[in-house]
Symmetry: C2
Subunit: 646 residues, 2 copies
């Protein structure tokens, strides 16, 4: 310990000094970096030592120094579960000696003493390598200085020094760090949201799971792989909300699916107008045939007539008059919702019950939960319950619907949420988009926060989509689906271009949250065609199946944004160019990042636009692009570098 | 624990997640910041809890939230030693309730139920406060709603809510953090370096400590308070270096003081030509009368004839032929220096011996060590030995002379060095200086790295001082002495403007390191006058006694740099404006940072230039400044804000 001379600092990836694991998905590369240095000028060697699982076998990969005492090494994670790693480093006197004697030989100095030292080093590292022991004899023989010098200068010798480090007084990073590796879907998923009650083909009729089954071919044709349903439980009858969020519902109004629970049941029951549990399970089975997984909404709150309120009043906050405290944001009141009181003395029973809800639905086949407002329930509850689920069902995905302050969103992701809604919904200009992507991909949250980009949700019709034409919808869709490998849309209103807000708000007028809607589910249009093509491109191109590989390209027009997405091995290259102005044609020159692409002076790049099927050949670093939004607001190029030019 | 809803993250100040203490000096303010947030929208309260010493009494100071879930609070450290602190926070339902009822009253809602809740809260927090119990009675009385409402809206009630938080389910930062508080000199010191062998008033004569005593009035007149002497030990005779670093010394050449040890003794002995230990101690006593402390050089390396080499060959690296390995940087050899081998199996004896050297000199009265090249000795050794010294002698200052890579310099400061040499020596342009100060003052190293700025050293005559006139020396001096509260100069060559380099190097020609020099110690000049005035200003103005209070001021001319230094209470204000161009007159408008100065629209600021004694009155935010370097390249303004205008 006292003889250890190396310091190892700032090992990455890590989250809050190891308080939480860093996240990766199967097949991803882990880039480990650290600051490593010692006193003096001796040569250092360093390695990342890692294993899969607590009981795994330790493996190691050598680190290389870059600049400013930074070192790095990479390995791929191939199994689901936890990897553990640490960094170790040491002063390698053999390597120091080797560097010194080469310089002295070059300076034609007498190295006879150095050769004898070299013999000692060789013997120390040779182990069972007889040849190195023979080299040592040569280096030690004062009559063989010339032969010994040639031996030292040989490639074999360099190789031996590199392969046989002199490992003494090894310094080791104190704390092992964990990497939690999840299945690929955690990073690559394509979400479609609809209200099953609006899935009927007959106007005015309450949709059922049976109706939703009939929509599966349409959704599958557009290549979505997650079908997210708002809550499917009985809707509260007390204080039910009416059309456009009016305080009282008229007779026959269906209410908001997020006001969960009535005399018909609570979080484990099914709203009977949608069908039975059997119907639901049939939907799930049919969806599976199309490779579509159902995502269930997890909204831990109660309508006033939820069975919990009577059975467990101690799970709610009681007021001095014995009534239950409804949700409020003074002076506003939300009398249709009773929040749980997580500070109750009966917190343990409450936690267990909510856990049982999750396990109940997992038991029915659910593997994806979209969690409603997780930031209004305690962090420690989520950390516990997600941990409990992960122990038995590591593949379950939890999507955090927390549109709130940055540190709160980050904390939920750290403690276990698989994916998170983001601020993408409000990042519109080129500068905003680039800055946000840079924060997500290159900031510390890259290790725990997996974005899921949504251009709209039932709660949000953002300003820039309001009363806009189809082009803006296409632009926002193209951004979401190519910037982020996880993305989703609140489907029917998006593909049919619904854009009327409640005046002065970012909310849908006649929101489906409070009423049944009818859509012409047979209709396709330019938007559905584009969705189909882009989602197919996402399926077929690995470069679009991760968010972490983005490389923005210079283009001098502020209305044009361009970015490259590439696989580590450059076998799949996608170049996206989007005109952010839905009204005007824009043109400009896009710079190919030649260094990133491994392209030298001669450029011969073939591009196929996967939307228009047009082909291009680029032979310059800067290439002219022109986008007329009324034709198509974006290019989605699949790029091939002509091999002879690399 | 399960009911705790608050998360506390990123508590500052901390160094490497608490691995090392943060540093402050007596009288400094500690600004504690943290990210604090919970689920939901309830109100939070937070406090910093701190104590002095392991056995101290816990005190607390309330934190305030700023933006983005950041919270902060400050306290002053007044004692030398270790402070410990942590942050705790909780959801305060009393405060949440209070905010809600105020809004409901404003919206004229019925609050009778809320008043009853308030009564419960009052009783929960009242403790022995009878008045609050009486308020509770009023709030609970259905016949006194009007009186109760007025009571709630009263200032006394607001005050009670603030002073009597409802402290339930308190979340506490896991790890207590340490702040090591050192004496004021660690942050405010003014160093003068000279070679005592050159202190004789008679040309050609080897200077002695007796001669150095005669220089004390001169050094004290310039208001220096540290006199740093290069090593005063016997100089090696074997392989001694000659004039201008020549490999062999001619007969009678004195050698380098850093080649320590000969048959006359080692690190605990005194070079006999300088005098005896008694002479040294007289110098120390005489210096003390002038409030000057001696700083000794700690250079842990040996000349070939150092007694250690014979007595403890095992402390050095032995070569196959039995010789001792000298220092080298292949293909260069430094045969006059034997480095210690800290990896020796006898490391324990070596460490103890080196520690005994430090304790020996502390025993002679030394309290400041300038440590030569600490980055060529192991970090763990320094951490141990400085720790051992601090246990018994917490006031001892160690200055790290590590002109090396940033992370190495940072590590030495973290593990215990009190002060550090810096890159200031090479930061010349306005941009370089501002960027570097920003890094030092606002970067993470602010918590452990105390800069000591040197415009030159015996090893460094930087490019920008070479063959330059006096103005450049004045500019660099003014920067060092006003940017950093710790600064020093290699004195005689600086005040006499010596500027001849070894061709093509940043080294002095005819360096005093290898020969005796003679100076006309009676001569004063423009430079010594300026040094005297600036150092006096430093003594008399608290704003110049810390490095952490700098605030750069906008000035549009890139040749002019301007900065404000102020005490926390604004009772002492210094404004520095420097013309960085030694040759040309430059002018421009300097912006006063009105907000920082607490000045509103009306401006009436009196300035006295402490160098020229000229007075100015500024009545504008932007003020004209003109600096003719041949008159004076800088202003050192003492500023007073006319009270009636604040």
């Amino acid at each position: 310990m006292a003889q250890q001379r190396v310091l190892i600092e700032d090992v990455q990836p890590q989250v809050d000094a190891g308080a939480y694991p860093a996240k990766r998905t199967v097949g991803e590369r882990v880039d480990v970096t650290a600051s490593i240095f010692s006193d003096g000028h001796d040569h250092l060697r360093a390695e990342v030592v890692y294993k899969f699982g607590k009981l795994g076998t330790w493996m190691s990969v050598e680190m290389e120094s870059t600049v400013n005492d930074n070192w790095s090494a990479s390995f791929y994670v191939t199994e689901k579960g936890s990897y553990f790693f640490y960094v170790q480093a040491w002063v390698d006197h053999f390597d120091t000696w080797y560097d010194g004697i080469k310089k002295k030989i070059a300076a034609k100095l007498d190295v006879s003493l150095e050769l004898r030292e070299g013999a000692e080093f060789l013997r120390a590292v040779a182990g069972t390598h007889q040849e190195m022991m023979r080299w040592a004899d040569v280096l030690e023989d004062p009559t063989k200085v010339k032969e010994a010098t040639e031996r030292v200068m040989s490639d074999e010798f360099e190789d031996a020094v590199h392969r046989h480090p002199l490992k003494r007084h090894v310094a080791r990073q104190e704390k092992e760090l964990e990497i939690r590796v999840e299945h690929a879907k955690a990073l690559f998923s394509t979400w479609y949201e609809l209200f099953p009650r609006s899935s009927s083909l007959s106007p005015g009729k309450h949709g059922t799971f049976q109706d939703t089954i009939k929509l599966l071919p349409r959704i599958a044709a557009m290549h979505f792989d997650v079908l997210y349903l708002p809550p499917i439980h009985p809707i509260g009858k007390l204080n039910r909300k009416g059309k456009n969020n009016s305080v009282t519902a008229a007779e026959g109004e269906p209410g908001s699916p997020w006001a969960i629970g009535s005399d018909e049941g609570g979080h484990k029951a099914i709203h009977k107008e949608l069908g039975t549990l059997e119907d639901y399970k049939r939907l799930q089975q049919e969806a599976k045939k199309y490779n579509i997984q159902i995502a269930l909404d997890l909204a831990f709150q109660c309508a006033p007539d939820h069975p919990y309120v009577k059975a467990h009043p101690e799970w709610f906050r009681q007021r001095p008059d014995g009534s239950i405290q409804y949700a409020e944001n003074p002076p506003k009141k939300y009398q249709d919702i009773y929040p749980f009181n997580f500070e109750t003395e009966s917190w343990k029973e409450l936690w267990e019950e909510l856990k049982s809800v999750i396990f109940y639905w997992i038991g029915q086949g659910i593997t994806i939960f979209r969690v409603d407002n997780p930031h209004t329930k305690p962090f420690r509850f989520w950390e516990w319950v997600i941990g409990e689920v992960n122990k038995k069902h590591p593949d379950v995905i939890f999507l955090s619907e927390a549109f709130t302050r940055p540190k709160v969103m980050a904390a939920l992701a750290k403690l276990g949420f698989t994916q998170s809604y983001t601020y993408f919904t409000w990042r519109v200009t080129k500068g905003e988009i680039m800055e946000y992507m840079n924060e997500l991909v290159n900031g510390p949250s890259r290790n725990y926060f997996r974005p899921n980009f949504w251009p709209n949700t039932p709660d949000i019709l953002p300003w820039h989509l309001q009363r806009q034409g189809e082009n803006m919808f296409i632009i926002r869709f193209a951004l979401a689906s190519t910037l982020s490998s996880n993305y989703g849309m609140y489907g029917p209103v998006y593909e049919f271009g619904e854009n009327t807000p409640v005046e002065g708000k970012e909310e849908y007028y006649n929101s489906e949250k409070y009423e049944l809607r009818h859509y012409d589910w047979r209709r396709t249009n330019r938007m559905t065609d584009i969705i189909t093509l882009v989602n197919r491109a996402r399926k077929e191109n690995r470069a679009l199946q991760t968010t972490w590989n983005i490389q923005f390209c210079a283009v001098e027009n502020p209305n044009l944004i361009a970015y490259l997405k590439k696989t580590d091995d450059l076998s799949n290259l996608i170049l996206v160019v989007i005109n952010l102005d839905p009204h005007q044609r824009h043109s400009g020159y896009v710079q190919l990042p030649l260094h990133q692409l491994g392209i030298g002076r001669l450029i011969n790049v073939k591009l196929r636009d996967l939307i228009t099927s047009e082909d291009y050949t680029w032979t310059q670093e800067w290439n002219y692009v022109e986008l007329e939004p009324h034709k198509m607001p974006f290019h989605l190029f699949k790029m091939e570098i002509h091999a002879s030019q690399m």
